[in-house]
Amino acid sequence: MGSPPWFFRFSGAVVQWLLPITIGLLLLGAAWGLLVAPPDFRQGNSYRIIYIHVPAAVVALVGYYVMALAGAVSLIWRIKMADVTMRAAAPVGAVLTAVALVTGAIWGKPTWGTWWVWDARITSMLILLFLYLGVMALFEAYENKTAAARACAVLSLVGTVNIPIIYKSVDWWYSLHQPASIKFTGESAIDSSMLYPLLLMITAFYCFFALTVLLNMRAELMWNHREANWLQQMVRKV
């Protein structure tokens, strides 16, 4: 599975389907959340930001685990493909974290009366953004790319400490940010007319993450193997 030619062919087939599915789900979820779902009885229409804010934040957290896991695999088994996965996930995670922070700030203005507050949830999300950016910058800082990948893997693994802190922050330090509305166990504190479009958007953002990571990996592999036989032959066949 770690072989680049196999991965390139497999991911090509996946991307072909995942691209239209992702775009379709994103547009459908946005239309549902913006136009069809009812307004919140306390917040009015501003709550519609939830349909991008929560999915972006959820996938930014899960994406960090994906990156750290790839880093661990690369450290332990020295699999080149794991390096490529780790590096492909970092910019996507960074963008999703930034989207969660920016949409959160915009949502905060009409709801809390402020763009920014040093609340535990928001601060720990800002640290997540710096971790993602740190992994990206660290790789560029090294001349030796094998050492760079190793350093990035260590940094991403150390950073996983932050993820449960983000997750639990709304319960441990209760201030402005509201606690989770969707629960894995027991009744969710959100009506199904709002829950369904939210779940759809979370699915759409997972698809977006998977798709973008695959695309980044393919671009990286093409560059690394631009003179390899298998890629030369693949190009000749088309």
């Binding site: 691209l19 992702t22 994103l26 946005a30 913006l34 136009l35 069809v36 779902a37 009812p38 307004p39 009015g44 229409n45 501003s46 519609r48 930001i49 991008i52 804010h53 972006a56 910019p91 996507v92 963008v95 930034a98 989207v99 920016v102 949409t103 915009i106 949502w107 203005k109 009409p110 977006f208 798709l211 973008t212 695309l215 980044n216 393919r218 671009a219 093409m222 560059w223 631009r226 890629l231 030369q232 190009v235 000749r236």
Partner: protein, 65 residues
Amino acid sequence: MYFDSLSAVWHMDGHGFYVWLSYALTFLPVAIMLWLPIRRQRQLWQWIVAEQRRVDSRHVDAQSK
């Protein structure tokens, strides 16, 4: 559909600015993140094709001499 008119969709009872701004600031980076690697793949593919043509034509030249 919850809203009665297009202008109601736009204004959202005074929250339109916040809602539309946050959707714009989400979909723009999402589109860019999809477009960048696709463009890079296409450029690399074209580069490989051009390189192969160059090598092939050199072979043909060498044979004809």
